[in-house]
Amino acid sequence: MKGAPAQTDVLIIGAGPASLAAASAVLGHNLSITIVDEQLRPGGQFLRQPPRCMQAHNWLDGRLYRPAKRLLQTIEDHPDIDWRFGTTVSALFPDPQPPGIGAAGHSVWLTGAAGMERLRARTVLLASGCYERPLMFPGWTLPGVMGAGAIQTLLKSQQVVSGDRILLVGSHPLQLIVADQILKAGGKVAGVVFSQPALAGGSILQHPGVLFSHFLQFTEIARVFFRLRRAGVRVIFGSAITEAKGTGGVLAATIAPIDSMGGVSGTGTTEFECDAVGLCYGFLVSSELARQVGAEALWSENRGGWLVQHDEWMESTVPGLFVAGEVTGMAGADAAIVEGVIAGMGILRSLGNLDTQQAELGASDHRRQREKNERFARCLADLASPPHALWTGLMAPETIVCRCETVTRQELDDALSVHTHIQTADALKLLTRIGMGLCQGRLCHSTAAQVLSVTRKTSIENVGSFHAAVPARPVPINKLTNT
């Protein structure tokens, strides 16, 4: 163990758009700022950068990326920020003796190549983003079944196309953008399959205000849609993937129409030849660190699962812990930037660098923008989500729910029918080992909770989440003991 832990005024977890915006807002107030990210360069998933040694031609030249790219250019390599790349926040603890007057304070374990360092922070901004939400169906664990976002990340950061013939299935318009990027990179798209009926997109016309305020997003998506059509890519509506076939890898995928109950009947199926499947059924937010210290989180099926609750300054229910970006509810990069600025103002206010009036002044425009963003995000969330019944309706008894611990749907159903006393996700975990593996339940927690809530006819809030345990990610013991 090294000597006394280092201290920082503002610790920002994540280096995506929300974090970069918050850092920009906080800079120039003579505060020490530390930004931690697992990647080697800033930008987050949205602006996923190639390594410095590589040059990507026309990197993210779409119009949607412009505002965030401008932000990235102004702040990358800023000398007044202590950048910690390739570093994970393994745990967040309330600081029993917070540094500085009036500060709540937290301490964190930072783990990187060199080992573990403890850092004390007067304020923390958690902007840890989200990850792709898996949909479980027979064959979802076959190599070649990936998140559409993972396919996109490989394209953005490495210029790698993940297969020779890629089928995209999901409910989120992101899959159109990914299909477009695959084509641009020289890949083949076997098809794009939406769970929504063809006219669902038109329901946005019922929200003219949203359409107007986010016109760019809609026109960009429409433009991409017609580009795909011109390229001969099949776009199918009202269907879902029911099986990925193959041994040792994907050879084909079965698509079936969704019925009026939101399930699949199994008739009228179509088979696609493909060697990769990109799933695009939405996202789950990475709220583990906030939940680890007891911040209140509420379940939202369409906005990303357990969303961290916050006040008008983006401060969570744990004093000194601020949140911005997707962890507050899926809303995209532009919304994350706005929240980052508000959180920055909140942090300056809580540290006494601004009084409330000054902070309000800095935040007011962004608050108005945030309201518009929220309306858009709510609209998009409803439009971009599959029918509720799909989450639990596609699994066969032998389908694996927890791939780390190889727990099948049948095992869950058996446990719940034998052990009628089990009412919570944590109790189900203790009995079946679901969620006890290396991914710490990130992939299976929402499905486990949904199976439990459907079986017990109760809400996800009653079922609860898996307890967000320390460490946030598995970490070798010798890193923690620095030996």
Partner: protein
């Protein structure tokens, strides 16, 4: 609850001790209601590391010399527990991952070796045979241990069982023998009327129904509420001198088996074992912290993790078992145990308050099935196969009256 509200015994607490008591009572023919405020096996019973330790533990040894003799009075229960654990899987007809391949208590310094020797000779007097191994003998028995270990006490029967499974299996067996189990239900006021206890039971509101209140009666009430036993006793107008202590546990990723034994240390809190699934569990009694609520420790919230405890616990474990260095730490959690001032359990009833039986304290996992068996003997036959007088609540009546309003 509409069918029957009169039971021979009402057991309070759905942990290992409560479920074991309910099982042995129901098997013996009693009508049993077991009431649990949350879910079965969700507190210390399901959160401990499942050690089956029969040697005197570090926390008992680590006191002045006279106290060691006093703590050694636990030994008759430890000896009984060896048999109970050896038979539990066949008794319940299910796999509990009981492993009794031996346990080693380690000593690194000359002082620790002397302590270990004194402990072993004391255990021998009580009838537990532990084998002292020195230097290379330790390495031969357990080549995965570090070279610096000077001596180890080997107890052939020690090992571990899976806390995820034991309590649940006991509960299911109890139900098969006719016991009723109510979860998400709290026992409120307990009143003695004539020859029986009247208990007010409040069942939490849930989807589709409001909070429900029932009165039940029991000839006997068993307080098996662990760290919450004090609260239950208060509801009966009694005092149970149990202190809640929050502790830390750690689990690593799964790997091929390489630690067949239970590992403890003679002067540091430490337990290390590898479970059948391949995870290594590391614990031994490192402290956690209660959350505060209205300025008091909050027993209803999970205890908060102490980061220094994790690091020190891992350091000791890695020093003893160097191969742990590359294992990923996967999960840390806390649990709340109930502890008495003299480290011995509270077992039995006091003459002044007949029919209120307490079963809490000491090593609740290792000794839980034994407590359950002995308490059921007491209730069903009026006597026990092992003398439980040394553990009687009566020992507290003078200093800290267990008898209150009655």
């Amino acid at each position: 609850m509409t069918t029957n509200s009169a039971f021979d015994v009402v057991v309070i607490g759905g942990g290992l001790i409560g479920c074991a008591t309910a099982y042995y009572l129901a098997k013996g023919g009693a009508t049993v209601l077991m009431v649990e405020k949350g879910e079965l096996n969700r507190q210390a019973s399901g959160r401990n590391a499942g050690s089956l330790h029969f040697q005197l533990e570090h926390r008992l040894i680590d006191h002045a010399n006279g106290a060691l003799e006093q703590f050694a009075r636990i030994m008759p229960l430890n000896l009984a527990a060896i048999n109970d654990w050896a038979n539990l899987e066949s008794e319940l007809g299910t796999d509990l991952e009981v492993t009794m391949d031996g346990g080693l208590m380690l000593a690194e310094t000359a002082d620790e070796v002397a302590l270990l020797e004194r402990k072993c000779s004391l255990e021998k007097r009580w009838g537990l045979s532990t084998q002292l191994l020195y230097g290379s003998e330790v390495q031969k028995k357990a080549p995965y241990l570090c070279d610096e270990i000077q001596a180890a006490a080997f107890c052939a029967q020690e090992g571990h069982a899976n806390p995820r499974l034991v309590t649940i299996a006991l509960a299911e067996s109890a139900v098969r023998h006719g016991a009723r189990i109510l979860t998400h239900s709290r026992v409120g006021v307990l009143e003695r009327t004539g020859r029986e206890w009247r208990a007010c039971i409040v069942r939490d509101a849930a989807a589709g129904r409001d909070e429900e209140t029932h009165d039940v009666t029991g000839g006997t009430v068993v307080n098996a509420a662990g760290a919450w036993a004090g609260v239950v006793a208060e509801n009966a107008g009694l005092h149970c001198p149990i202190r809640a202590v929050p502790l830390l546990m750690n689990a690593t990723e799964r790997r091929e088996p390489f630690i067949p034994h239970l590992i403890q240390h003679v002067s540091r809190p430490l337990s290390v074992k590898q479970v059948r699934d391949g995870n290594i569990l590391i614990g031994g009694g490192w402290p956690a912290h209660f959350e505060q609520r209205h300025g008091r420790p909050d027993l209803e919230s999970r205890a908060r993790i102490d980061d220094q405890s994790i690091l020190e616990n891992l350091q000791v474990a890695q020093r003893m078992v160097p191969g742990l260095a590359s294992f990923h730490l996967l999960r840390c959690w806390t649990g709340i145990v109930g502890v008495t001032a003299d480290e011995l359990p509270v077992l039995g009833e006091v003459a002044e308050v007949p029919g209120f039986v307490t079963a809490v304290g000491s090593s609740g996992f290792t000794l839980g099935p034994t407590y359950g068996r002995l308490i059921s003997e007491l209730i069903l036959t009026g006597r026990t196969s092992i003398d439980i007088d040394p553990y009687s609540p009566a020992r507290f009546t003078r200093t800290n009256p267990i008898k209150g309003a009655h």
